[in-house]
Symmetry: C2
Subunit: 350 residues, 2 copies
C-alpha cells in the first residue's frame, strides 16, 4: 500500500506542504445528487443501501465523478453499531432513525455487549470495495459516531429535541450512562480499527450531540470517551500514518480541550471564525471546515466570495486546512453550485 495519487487531504492533516487546499463535503454522497436518489431507489431503502457493499461503493464514488474532491468517505450510517448490538434500527419515511428497543432499563443496559464483528462485516466489505474502486485516486475516510452521540440515540430511541431521557440518566444514574459509554467506546475502537485494516486511510469521529451537554458534562461524558478511543486506534497501518479527525458540532467552547485529545484534525462547525480557531489551537492540530452549508443555496458569485472568506481567515498559502462545510450538505443544494465551491477552494475561481 502507498499514499493515493492525490494525497493533499492526508498532507493537510499532517501539516505537510500541499499542492492545493483539499476539499471534501460531509454527506457528499447524498440526496442532493440525482444519481444518489436513483441508486437509493434501486436499493429499496436507506438501510438496504448501507448494507449492500456494491451499492454503498457506487454512491461513495458518485460525488467524485461530478466534482474534483480530494477525499472519499465511506457511505454508511453512525447507527450501524447500536444496530449490531441488537437495538433494532429502522428508518421511517421522513421520520429519521428509530430503535425498536431503546435502552431504558437497567437490565437491558447491563446486558449490552460489544457487537460480534460479523454483524458489521458488510461495512468492512464496503470499505474494501470502495478502496479497490478508488484505485489510489484519493484517500478513503472511515467514520463512526462518538459514544455520547450513539448513546443519545440508544437511550432516546431516535432523534430528540431535548434529549430528556439520556440527560435524565446522565444526572440521575450516571453509572448507567457510563456503562453504555464504555461498551460503546470499546465497540467504536474495534469498528474503526477494522475499517483501517480493511482499507480506510483516515478516520473521523462524529460527535453530533456532544454540543448539547453542559461544560462539565461534555468533558466527562463525551470528550473523555473520544480521547480513550483515539489512544487505542491504529496510528499507522501498512507503513502509512492514519490521521483521525474529531468533530463535535457546537463544541467551539471546548476547542483547546478537543485539540489536546490526541486527534490529528478538528472539525469545525460554521459558528466560529476559522482564523480564531487556529489561533486558539496553535500548531497542535489541523482544522477541517467551516463554511455554512446554507451558502450553497446562494448564486455562484456569493459562494465564491464566502468560500474565499474562509480561506482568507485560515491564512492563504499555509497548510493544515481541509476545506469542508460546517455540517452535512443539504438535500436541497443545487448540485451545480458545488462546482463553484470546489473550484474556488482549488484556486481556479476568483
Amino acid at each position: 500500500m502507498s499514499r493515493p495519487r492525490n494525497d493533499n487531504f492526508l498532507r493537510a492533516l499532517f501539516k505537510e506542504p500541499v499542492e492545493r487546499t483539499p476539499i471534501w463535503l460531509m454527506r457528499q454522497a447524498g440526496r442532493y445528487l440525482p444519481e444518489y436518489c436513483e441508486t437509493r431507489q434501486r436499493a429499496g431503502d436507506f438501510l438496504s443501501l448501507c448494507r449492500s457493499p456494491d451499492l454503498a461503493c457506487e454512491v461513495t464514488l458518485q460525488p467524485l465523478e461530478r466534482y474534483d474532491l480530494d477525499a472519499a468517505i465511506l457511505f454508511s450510517d453512525i447507527l450501524t453499531i447500536p444496530d449490531a448490538m441488537g437495538l433494532g434500527l429502522c428508518f421511517e419515511a421522513g421520520e429519521g432513525p428509530r430503535f425498536a428497543r431503546p435502552l431504558r432499563d437497567e437490565a437491558a443496559i447491563r446486558a449490552l455487549t460489544v457487537p460480534d464483528p460479523d454483524r458489521l462485516e458488510y461495512v468492512f466489505a464496503s470499505v474494501r470495495a470502495i478502496r479497490k474502486a478508488l484505485a489510489g485516486r484519493v484517500p478513503l475516510i472511515g467514520f463512526a459516531g462518538s459514544p455520547y452521540t450513539l448513546a443519545c440515540y440508544m437511550v432516546e430511541g431516535g432523534g430528540s429535541r431535548d434529549f430528556r431521557h439520556v440527560k435524565t440518566m446522565l444526572y440521575a444514574r450516571p453509572d448507567l450512562l457510563h456503562h453504555i459509554l464504555s461498551i460503546t467506546a470499546e465497540s467504536v475502537v474495534a469498528y474503526l480499527n477494522a475499517q483501517i485494516e480493511n482499507g480506510a486511510q483516515a478516520v473521523m469521529i462524529f460527535d453530533t450531540w456532544g454540543g448539547s451537554l453542559s461544560n462539565a458534562a461534555y468533558a466527562e461524558f463525551s470528550l473523555a470517551y473520544m480521547q480513550g478511543i483515539l489512544e487505542r486506534l491504529h496510528k499507522t497501518w501498512e507503513g502509512e500514518k492514519i490521521p483521525a479527525i474529531l468533530f463535535t458540532k457546537g463544541g467551539n467552547a471546548w476547542l483547546e480541550e478537543i485539540a489536546q485529545s490526541g486527534c490529528t484534525g478538528v472539525g469545525l462547525d460554521w459558528c466560529i471564525d476559522i482564523g480564531e480557531a487556529r489561533r486558539r489551537v496553535g500548531h497542535l492540530v489541523a482544522l477541517q471546515g467551516n463554511l455554512d452549508p446554507n451558502v450553497l443555496f446562494a448564486p455562484p458569485g456569493v459562494i465564491v466570495r464566502e468560500a474565499r472568506k474562509v480561506l482568507a481567515a485560515f491564512g492563504p498559502g499555509d497548510t493544515g486546512h481541509v476545506f469542508n462545510l460546517g455540517h452535512g450538505i443539504s438535500q436541497f443544494t443545487p448540485p451545480e453550485h458545488v462546482h463553484a465551491l470546489v473550484e474556488t477552494v482549488h484556486g481556479l475561481r476568483h
Copy 2:
C-alpha cells in the same frame, strides 16, 4: 412608582448587594404546571390565552404562588409582533407556530411596516394587569424576540431545522433581510418601550436563533440590530432604572461582543461554565443562567448538587448573578422538583 419589596432581581442586574441570589425560570408559567394547563384549556388555545389580559395575568402569577421566585415575566409570545404586522399567526396542535403569509417575495418584504400599536394593545393591557396584581411583590419582566429570531420565523413561516429560506436570503439578498431586520428592530423598540411605559420593570431580548449564524453573520444580522434596540430603549422610567437582558442561545463564542452591546445582563445557555463566562465579560454586565434544564428531571438531591455547582462557579457571596435555567423549563418537569432548586439558590438547602 418605586422598587418592588423583593428587588433582589433588579439589584443583581445592577450589581448592587443582594439579600439572596435571585432566581426565576424561563417559561416559568408553562405546561409543567397543572394549573397552567387548566387555565389554557379554559382559554381554548394558546393564542387566546396570550390575547386575554385577565388570563395572561392569571398564568403569569401561578408560578409565584407555588415557588418563592424573585421575578415575574409577562406571559406572551415572541411572535406577537409579526402577527401584528399581518403575517397571520396560528399554532397547530403539536406543530408549533405557523405564519399563513411568510415573507418570501420582495414585494411583501418592501410592504412590511411597523405595526399599529393598537394591534398590540392586548399585550400592554396584560402588562398593566400583571403589574397591578403583583402589587409590588417582585419585579415584572417584559420581553421581545430579537429581530433576527423574528425574521427566521417570518421568512421560514414557522420553526425550522436548517433555516434554509432565511439563510438563502441572507447570502443571496442581504438587502432584503436587512430591510426586514430594520423594520422589525424599529417595531421591537416601540413594543418594549410601550411595555416599560405600561409597567415592565426590566426587559429581555430573546435571540433564540442567533446561534445558528456564522461568526461574521451574527455580528451583522443579529447583534448589530439588538445593539441598535438597546440604544433606543428607555433607560429609566418614572425615576427607576430599567435593566435589559440579552440572551443569544448558543452564543457563547460571542460573549465579549454581547457584553459590549449596552445590555445590563447577559443570558447564558448551559453550555458554558458561568465562572469562565464571568472572567470573559469582567465587570461589564450581570449574568443570568445557566443550569441545564434537564437537571430538573433528576431527583432533588442531584438538583441541589448541580445548582450548587453553578452558584460556586459564579462565585458565592458575590452579586451580579440572576439564577436561571439555560433554556425554558421543560413541559415534562415534575413541578415538585422546582422547590429543591429555588430553595438551594436561596441558600435554604445544602
